[in-house]
Amino acid sequence: MRYLDEYRNADAAQKLVAAIAAACTRPWVIMEVCGGQTHTIVKYGIDRVLPDGLELVHGPGCPVCVTSLETLDRAHAIAARSDVIFCSFGDMLRVPGSRVDLLQLKSQGCDVRVVYSPLDAVNLAAANPSRKVVFFAIGFETTAPANAMAVWLAMRRGLTNFSALVSHVLVPPAMSAILSATNNRVQGFLGPGHVCTVVGTSEYEPLVAKFRVPIVITGFEPIDMLEGILRTVQQLEAGRAEVENQYSRAVRTEGNPASRKLLTEVFEVCDRKWRGIGRIPQSGYRLKPEYRDFDAERLFDVADLETEESTTCISGEILRGLKKPHQCPAFGKECTPLTPLGATMVSSEGACAAYHAYGRTLEDGKRTQLV
């Protein structure tokens, strides 16, 4: 497949690995923000071919893992209603709320459906006028245009039975929170390639100016990641701190203007609670008042929910790059993808789930039987 295969080329990868080793004279800690980037690193074993001392830590770039417990409980309460067809991306199905997950609700007879695109949910609403169709609109800025388009289309087509439960999260405030923490170890970032495809690169300039860390906007294939790592290391070695764009085949400085316009029409910025981290101001999107008729949070009275929280896992520390999954004593034992204890294991994109799926166990570098 074009624009995919060539970015998985073994020779190119080896050259970049050699270049990284040659460029690195000191230990560095680099964070990749996106869950998809974590996935690539672990899937191809990229971190294991990097020089000793160059450490990759995994960030909170998994909108699925960071969806708050309150939002999940709200989603589950709506999905449990008999007049609702609840549509969701596949990722959200196994994420546990206080009591259940969507998959279990499905097993109990609730109408829960996986959709590939938010636009499919709109079509479902048109095809089922007597049922209420609710779409679970999660994601980072990458998914926001598609989610916004769904709501906008529903309004255009006059679909009164469609609504969205919106729980968008934004990357720059999360990076700022990580960098502001007193025990922050991260010295450079691989920035979120597809987020920047939508919104552009300008939001990262203030971060670089304030915190003096290099941010290299990076793609998702192995060659992208290796080049992104190389360029971050080169900046760190030279004492530079700039925004660079490795993923230039998709990312323009201005992003996608049409998408940005629709986002300002449909969404407004709000505070959001991130599972495992806490409330981060101005870090989310919600629907604007003009779209209140499509806002599932307002349409469905699910305010009186009791959210049960327990504190046994270290997801928070993992999301902020302070610990690795295999350093958690529960990893692979009480906490597995089948029985997730926390945010980073629940989603197949979370750092712990990626580690578990690709066989990393309690001691880094040592493989033992998992089951």
Binding site: M1, L341, G342
Partner: protein, 352 residues
């Protein structure tokens, strides 16, 4: 307004140690399925033969050995590109016998029909089963039909059992892989699963891809004739190649080293999996097998397979090693490596 926590633990849900209801994931051939076996079926029904968990049971019978297997088919939709539930049922049961080195002889077929199902559809399916049987020379010799109320049966479920004969002196087993053995695959992976997905509601996409559902009895016969030293064979159905390899590694207590670049895969399957965020290693196959053979015989077996229409894309994809017993490790395209674990539950399309 709280501030983001610093140095404190995150919030987590109460862990569930096990589910108390059946989930779809219990049927996908991965860890949940294995857990159900361990928790429910084996404790109640276990015996020497059942506990071996081979694709078929081989039983002493007179002077020879009988192979016996059973399977249920619940695929939706009933008709899909390249086949239907009936054809799948016949092929699936024949293949379970064939990979044990048996010559398939007779099948039974039990039908659970949902009230309201179109008889014209049932006729098509049964005709399809007849054709599939004739192709291989097996007979459906006994059967049963039940009808359940509308809403209780998802149109049609089929259960087939099959009997075959294993020639004297032949004994294939998933426990018999040895260090140095080669692992061969008869063709491209993921075709069936992707063909089904392409017509599944919510995921539809357009493709010329068809299910690879096919009877493997003739291929296995050719393989065993050319290479009696084959240790075992397995058809990687639900759970995909990854699950079959993990079962092999676990049963034989060996490690497996897989080479990503050797695994045959069609461009369309890759495209669909990339689009949906799925891993082809976990996608179902219905007309493929994997075989474990001593290293010295690998090339000969490969050539024999490639001469057969169902083995044209056969490849040597890995080796059995003494390192990391019980684990399957893959050398990736970019020179790194990763562990290929057992499928957890159901593989779901992802956006992340």
């Amino acid at each position: 307004m709280d501030h983001p926590r610093e140095g404190l633990f995150g919030t987590c849900p109460t862990p569930k140690s096990h589910y108390d209801r059946i989930l779809l994931g219990h049927g996908s051939g991965g860890q949940l399925s294995a857990e159900l076996l361990k928790r429910v079926f084996l404790p109640a029904l276990g015996n020497d033969v059942l506990n071996a968990l081979e694709d078929q049971a081989t039983l002493p019978f007179g002077n020879g050995r009988l192979a016996f297997t059973t399977d249920s088919f619940v695929v939706k939709p009933l008709f899909f590109p390249g086949g239907d539930i009936g054809k799948l049922a016949v092929h699936g049961t024949i293949n379970d016998l064939a990979v044990g080195g048996a010559k398939p002889l007779y099948l039974s077929a039990a039908f659970i029909l949902e009230e309201g199902m179109l008889i014209a559809d049932l006729k098509r399916i049964v005709q399809s089963m007849r054709l599939a049987c004739d192709e291989v020379g097996v007979k459906i010799v006994t059967g049963d039909t039940k009808v359940v109320d509308r809403g209780k049966g998802d149109q049609l479920f089929i259960t087939t059992s099959g009997i075959g004969v294993v020639p004297a002196g032949r004994s294939l087993s998933i426990r018999s892989a040895r260090h140095g053995d080669c692992i061969l695959l008869s063709g491209t992976i993921g075709d069936h699963g992707v063909a089904i997905m392409s017509v599944r509601e919510g995921l539809e996409f357009e493709t010329v891809l068809e299910s690879d559902s096919a009877p493997l009895a003739d291929l296995t016969h050719v393989m065993l004739e050319s290479c009696p030293s084959i240790r075992c064979m397995r058809d990687p159905t639900r759970g995909g190649l990854a699950s079959a390899l993990n079962e092999l590694a676990s049963a034989s207590r060996v490690g497996i080293r897989l080479l990503e670049k050797r695994i045959p895969i069609r461009a369309e399957v890759r495209g669909a999996c990339e689009m949906l965020g799925l891993d082809p290693l976990y996608v179902a196959n219905e007309g493929k097998l994997m075989a474990v053979v001593p290293e010295n015989d690998a090339e000969r077996l490969l050539n024999a397979m490639r001469c057969h229409p169902l083995g044209r894309n056969a490849a040597i994809v890995g080796t059995v090693v003494t390192d990391h017993p019980g684990l399957v490790v893959m050398d990736t395209l970019v020179g790194g490596e990763r562990v290929v674990t057992m499928l957890s539950g159901e593989q779901l399309p992802r956006i992340c």
